[in-house]
Amino acid sequence: MAERADPVTPARTSWPLLPVLRRIVAMPLKDPFAFTGILIYVLFALVALFADQLAPIDPMEILFTKAGKLAANVPPGAEFPLGTTNLGRDIYAQLVYGTRSALAVGLSAAIIVSTVGTIVGLVAGYFGGATDAVLMRIADMALSLPFLPFVIVLTGFLGASTSNIVLAVALLLWPNSARVIRSQVLTLRERAYVEAARVTGASAWRILFVHIAPNILPLSFVYAAIAIGWAIITEASVSFLGFGDSGSVSWGMMLQDAFASQALSRGQYAWFVPPGICIVLIVVAGFFISRGYEEVFMPRLRGR
């Protein structure tokens, strides 16, 4: 599979990337779940982009009824599709704008986790020896820190900001992808075309980035897809606990708000159910996409 992508002529490495890209594009067309996942991502991306058009109201603005009273806890209706919070804010607007925060957190965390994980995995796997040992020990340390408690402590003491949350998530999540990528590199290292490249004098870095990396990249994407979901859930959890960024609107903050204002006892399902559903959709989309690509790039040998 991977061998065909790179003939044993390392001097001419025109586009080893092309077959890989082709596979990346082809997969969703065969897997309906992955396709749905991508659709969901696209949908949310569009919502985030066109939030201003979709919800022309400021999500934090306190609204008043025509009579001049606080539009608190208005049930869902024509004017407010999902009703209002107990402080008179439009829930629907919050939901729409929350998409931005979710995608921002998800994507930035995923990019950092993916990048760090891939680089560490590549270096540890390819160079081996002491480098590998040290990097893996650090990875172990990161994994022995309880996830949510660490994020809480960090944001609780360093300050509740989105970047702190992203930082904390990235710090603890990179070992997972690093490990898997490292083991992939270990197997690839022994492949014929890498040997050939080494024999013809290609430098270690060249081999790493020109020959091995393109075959690793798909894996990075798989883990990035999972990391997005994980980061969003973590941000939601942390916000729910009250350590979130109070300045921005996020689904986690909505849930915290609902919980603290007794929305549960009032049965204001329209307030706290939609944000959760949005989270479920995005995370499940990540699962489907990563599952689809896992099948392509790490096929399981099932029986005969």
């Binding site: 172990d140 340390m141 939601a236 919980f259 006892s265 706290f272 699962f287």
Partner: protein, 325 residues
């Protein structure tokens, strides 16, 4: 035996690393270096006691070793707001977390294993194709949100369950055991456990299913068929027995991970456990208590990692019995 020692050392070192990270983290927090253990809330005597206990006037590296020595004795300082030893407070709430975690995990795993094996048997049918994404959806939902929905529907709305806490106000018990096994406690435990179990069952289910699918294609399963053994015996006695190994390990790991993750569940249901304690301590900047709670969670994590390693070694004959040739 060597293996056991190796895993023990590995996990112990990891725990040490965590402790060290914590030490420096709290020292570097805003405020004076003393702020980690001393606060205006404590009276003069208590402040003096802490100063001596933790050597807060000594150089950093000395403080580090004093800190470690104190930890080994269970000495973690005084809580700023409760003005009591941190350890005492932790031990009071620990049982609640342990019970919540264990009960949820046991239910989740029993269900997950059975359902996973059943789904593997139903391979290729529409049931399987629909069930797997559905289970993935349960893993995609934030646990606290599931809790919120259940709380609203089953407690506030239907009134079947209490809305929070571990006991109704005014209840008194002669001993801890009585309290834990009382109907009132169980009643309060029900919703949190239901929520957690719902969230947790996805992992053992999918794991068991994928293990079963792999094992069923192994040569020894075909051989068992050739011997003419009954399908029941093959699936349960041979396939499931092999497929269960990683699940048991996952259970042990799950206990460790859950203790940390339960933070949110305990908050939703006001369950008086370690997680909730941590959140409260952090929000009021009660450093000693926050440190203690965090460390206790990390300790359980490291301990369960070690237990998982042990289990794997004991249950897999390929590891417990060496080659003889």
């Amino acid at each position: 035996m060597r293996l056991v020692l190796g895993r023990f050392t590995h996990n112990a070192l990891a725990l040490l690393a965590v402790t060290t990270i914590l030490f420096f983290m709290f020292r570097l927090m805003p405020g004076t270096p003393l702020a980690a253990f001393i606060n205006e809330n404590l009276n003069a005597d208590q402040q003096q006691a802490m100063l001596e206990q933790f050597g807060l006037d000594k150089p950093m590296w000395q403080q580090y070793f004093i800190y470690l020595a104190n930890l080994l004795q269970g000495e973690m300082g005084l809580s700023f707001f409760q003005r009591r030893p941190v350890m005492t407070i932790l031990l009071e709430v620990l049982p609640n977390s342990v019970i919540l975690t264990l009960t949820s995990l046991i239910i989740a795993y029993i269900f997950g294993v059975v359902a996973g094996a059943w789904l593997a048997w139903k391979r290729g049918t529409w049931i399987e194709r629909a069930a797997v994404p559905a289970v993935l959806a349960t893993r995609a939902a934030p646990e606290f949100w599931i809790g919120m929905v259940l709380l609203a529907a089953l407690s506030f709305n239907a009134g079947w369950f209490p809305s929070g806490g571990a006991s109704s106000p005014g209840m008194a018990y002669s001993s801890n055991w009585d309290r834990i096994f009382s109907l009132d406690y169980v009643h309060h435990l029900a919703l949190p456990v239901l929520t957690l179990a719902l969230y947790l069952q996805g992992l053992p289910l999918l794991l068991m299913r994928s293990n079963m699918l792999e094992v069923m294609h192994e040569e020894f399963v075909t051989m068992a068929r050739m011997k003419g053994l009954s399908e029941w015996r093959i699936v349960i006695g041979h396939a499931a027995r092999n497929a269960l190994l990683p699940v048991v390990t996952a259970f042990a790991l799950g206990v460790g991970l859950s203790m940390g993750g339960n933070v949110v569940i305990e908050t939703v249901f006001s369950w008086p456990g370690i997680g909730r304690l941590l959140v409260q301590a952090v929000s009021v900047h009660d450093y000693p208590l926050a440190q203690g709670a965090f460390l206790m969670i990390a300790l359980v994590l490291a301990l369960m990692n070690f237990v998982a390693d042990l289990l794997y070694m004991v249950l897999d004959p390929r590891v417990s019995h060496g080659r003889k040739g």
